[in-house]
């Protein structure tokens, strides 16, 4: 029982990180209908930027953890979102009117570019960061097993929940969110009623990249090591999460992220770590066979 609760906590933490990345996929998919394959690498760039900013703050002599976290969070979101904006500007906007596979290929190309760029700029070695947020609480204790909830897990879950609430508010209540939903339904019509479609799409990429930056920071804090290749696996998992939850749906992305995180952690905890990815992908396949548009997705209407 204690073991189960511990795995549950770990799973929710991992799922929150996946969910944050998955939101970026699902927002972009909802608005321009393309798989942004380079999003996982934006997450990786975000993690690297966070790492460098931490080291930079330490070299400036700022050691107060809350201050450092806040500064890194905000600056990381800012710098990463410029990467997201540039990505859209260079690789996707020229192809917006083109056929659907064209931006998919540029996305794969940009993913290769980002990985190799970071590898060139920061070399290929694994980068460790000493734990920044320490300590935690002991929830349950028995002779065999102790259930702990560490501060970093609390931080991840709280940040994710807060960001989810902020983003739900932005999407449902503000004029930017209204414009985004309008573009999602019909881009031409939205532009006719005065929505600046280019700007809305750019801002969607900026928002997705900012969330990926937060996910990158959380990943860095949680695991303590990053390298230039983390974007690929995390990106595929997050995309799986977005599809599982129903691509285009924000709550779906969060739910899908949680499910994928839980499956992975429980599979690794109770069976073998080797096949945890197979378990996550198999659940995806099974869900899609019975619910072809994901858990919370709108069923696609076939039109002639």
């Amino acid at each position: 029982m204690e073991y189960f609760i511990q795995q549950l906590i770990n799973g929710i933490t991992l799922g929150s990180i996946y969910g944050l990345i998955a939101i970026g996929y699902t927002m972009v998919y909802g608005i321009i209908g393309m798989i942004n394959f380079a999003h996982g690498d934006i997450f990786m760039v975000g993690a690297f930027i966070a790492l460098i900013l931490f080291l930079f703050l330490v070299s400036l002599g700022i050691f107060a953890v809350p201050v450092a976290l806040l500064v890194v969070l905000l600056l990381g979101m800012f710098f990463t979102s410029i990467w997201g904006w540039t990505l859209e500007r260079i690789a996707y906007r020229p192809l917006r009117t083109s056929f659907r596979l064209a931006p998919l290929i540029t996305a794969i190309g940009m993913s290769i570019v980002l990985q190799n760029f970071v590898q060139l700029a920061q070399d290929a070695r694994v980068k460790p960061l000493p734990p920044v947020v320490r300590g935690g609480y002991t929830l349950l204790q028995s002779e065999a097993f102790t259930v702990t909830l560490s501060n970093i897990q609390i931080l991840i879950i709280v940040t994710t929940t807060a960001l989810m609430m902020v983003f739900s508010y932005v999407i449902t209540k503000t004029s930017l969110g209204r414009a985004q939903r309008a573009c999602e339904q019909d881009r031409v019509m939205a532009s006719l009623v005065g929505v600046n479609v280019d700007r809305v799409i750019s801002l969607t990429f900026v928002m997705g990249a900012a969330l990926a930056a937060v996910a990158g920071l959380m990943y860095l804090l949680y695991y303590g090591v990053i390298d230039f290749f983390i974007g690929f696996v995390a990106g595929i998992k997050a995309f799986t999460a977005a599809v599982l939850g129903g691509i285009g749906s924000l709550p779906g992305a969060m739910l899908g992220g949680l499910i994928i995180g839980l499956i992975e952690v429980f599979w690794a905890g109770y069976f073998t770590t080797q096949y945890k990815d197979v378990a996550a992908f198999s659940i995806l396949v099974i869900v899609l066979i019975f619910l072809p548009s994901g858990l919370l997705g709108k069923p696609e209407i076939e039109k002639v």
């Binding site: 798989i35 710098f79 596979l101 064209a102 190309g109 980068k127 460790p128 066979i289 002639v304």
Partner: protein
């Protein structure tokens, strides 16, 4: 940020003055600076379990300035000039092509044949820049250029020869005279595919000397990718099913041959059809659950299958030996004659030749050439059969297909199975060529590469895939000297080619079914792989 967005877009359409170009360049430089200031400007160095920051702000500023400069040049000369030129005459008239041809041959041959020539230039460059590394850089640049010139010359010459042969045949009264009405250049261009085939057949005679082995091995690799591209083209280009896990079938083919060959000692020629059958079977098994899925759901599930197969290969130690892979895979034999130096039935012994390791390479090259041509032939024939027409109809409109009574289940499954079978053939060839396989050769990167070849070539175009495979794999080989920048260049050129030609290299399509007259249509009239 919003102002920057408006500025960048607005400047392109508003006015064409130099001032706006400078403004664009400054904005680009600022954005590039913000991009690079953290990730390039500060380098993390691993030092005894800890990280140390190294200040490289100068490099970040230099990169930003470079971006601004490139933007300025593009704005002033390229984008603006292209718009003005669009109205006037074609870019290169026939006379200049012939001139370029002669010139390129002279330059290419000079540097390629005279060994001291490139060395002299390299030394001169090293003197001018005062740095020794410019010697190697200049040498690489000259090699690349002269190679490109020579390649262009060989292709154009072969096109001319094929054209002459065709005209001679037509004069002699053999073959149809339909193309007579075309202009000379159009007729020459139409020989491109055949010319490539002629070059491919005589390639072992064209390249001789110490480079032969390397050239043929590269060519075999390119042909493997061409074959994979043609196979995936059946699934994505013809049937319109977006498959991101194509490498799984390549892996099934490779492991089928590797396991059967090492465990039972069966010959390559027995295993080749078996590997194709196994791969086709897997195509059906994996195709079955995804029949209902469309578009991106199909893409992600095929990607998941590709990853699942790779992870299973990686962890199933008792069968596949895990990440260590399978080594000592039997080599291919020529009607029972092997290519070893010593032994009973050796190729060189039977034909009374001197032993030469390159014999095997030449033989492997012809095997993959024949396999690839077989794939091409079968695909072209299938396109004309009812099943091929059903694939293309399925790509264009699935609902219309169903209402016309086409069985979409069998149509999709045959597309998956046949595409997978071709990958299985390519996989078993890969296994016997390498002699060693491990799951590392079958990552998602390979699937993405093959898909990129298909889309860059122009979906559904057989010739386009050849061009794209030669461009991507061949350029990867050419830039081998620039090891660390190779993948960066590769990714960037993928993006650049796609932005430049979104419909791929070959953007016209030949319809399979025609009324009265056969003529190419634009690729934009054909639907993409939507699943």
């Amino acid at each position: 940020m919003a102002e920057a967005v408006g500025g960048v877009i607005g400047a392109r359409t508003a006015d064409d003055s130099i001032g706006s170009a400078v403004k664009d360049a400054v904005i680009t430089g600022l954005i590039a600076f913000l991009l690079f200031v953290v990730i390039v400007g500060l380098k993390t160095e691993n030092a005894q379990e800890r990280l140390v920051l190294v200040n490289r702000l100068g490099l970040a500023v230099a990169l930003a300035a470079l971006a601004a400069g490139v933007r300025l040049l593009l704005d002033l000369f390229f984008w603006r000039g292209a718009r003005a030129r669009a109205a006037s005459e074609p870019l290169l008239p026939a006379g200049s092509i012939i001139l370029l041809l002669g010139l390129s041959y002279i330059i290419g041959a000079y540097f390629f044949i005279v060994p001291g020539a490139s060395e002299g230039l390299a030394t001169a460059a090293a003197d001018i820049f005062g740095a020794e590394e410019w010697r190697a850089r200049t040498r690489i640049a000259i090699q690349l250029l002269s190679f490109a010139f020579l390649a262009a010359f060989v292709v154009l010459t072969a096109m001319g020869l094929v054209l002459i042969a065709r005209r001679a045949l037509r004069l002699a009264g053999i073959g149809a005279g339909r193309e007579a009405s075309k202009s000379f250049l159009a007729e020459l261009g139409a020989q491109f595919g055949l010319a490539l085939l002629v070059i491919a057949v005589v390639l072992p005679l064209l390249v001789v000397g110490p480079q032969q082995r390397y050239a043929l091995e590269t060519a075999s690799q390119v042909l493997t990718y061409i074959m994979l591209g043609w196979g995936l083209n059946v699934v994505v280009g013809l049937a319109g099913l977006l498959d991101l896990g194509y490498v799984a079938f390549y892996a099934v083919g490779a492991y089928s041959y590797a396991l059967i060959g090492t465990q039972f000692g069966w010959s390559f020629w027995v295993c080749l059809p078996l590997a194709g059958m196994f791969a086709a079977l897997w195509g059906i098994i994996l195709g079955f659950p995804v029949l209902r899925l469309r578009g991106d759901y199909l893409a992600i599930v095929t990607l998941a299958f590709g990853e699942i197969i790779r992870i299973v290969l990686l962890n199933w130690y008792s069968l596949t030996n895990g990440p260590n892979g399978i080594s000592r895979i039997p080599r291919v034999t020529f009607f029972g004659l092997d290519f070893d130096r010593n032994g009973e039935n050796t190729f060189h012994g039977f034909f009374g030749l001197e032993f030469d390791g390159v014999h095997r390479v030449i033989f492997m090259y012809y095997i993959i050439l024949c396999l690839a041509l077989l794939v091409n032939f079968v695909t072209m024939r299938l396109r004309k059969l009812p099943i091929g027409r059903a694939w293309e109809a399925l790509r264009e409109d699935e609902i219309a297909c169903r209402s016309l009574g086409i069985n979409t289940v069998t149509t999709k499954l045959t597309a998956f199975a046949i595409g997978a079978m071709f990958a299985g053939f390519a996989g078993s060839f890969f296994a016997t060529r390498q002699g060693f396989i491990s799951p590392e050769s079958f990552t998602f990167h390979e699937s993405a590469l093959v898909l990129a070849i298909v889309v860059l070539g122009g979906l559904g175009s057989q010739l386009g895939i050849v061009i794209a495979a030669v461009a991507l794999i061949g350029s990867g080989e050419l830039f081998r000297d620039l090891e660390e920048y190779r993948m960066l260049i590769f990714g960037a050129s993928m993006v650049a080619i796609m932005v430049w030609r979104p419909r791929g290299f070959v953007s016209s399509r030949m319809p399979t079914v025609v009324l009265n007259e056969r003529r190419a249509i634009s690729g934009s009239h054909v639907k993409e792989g939507a699943g």
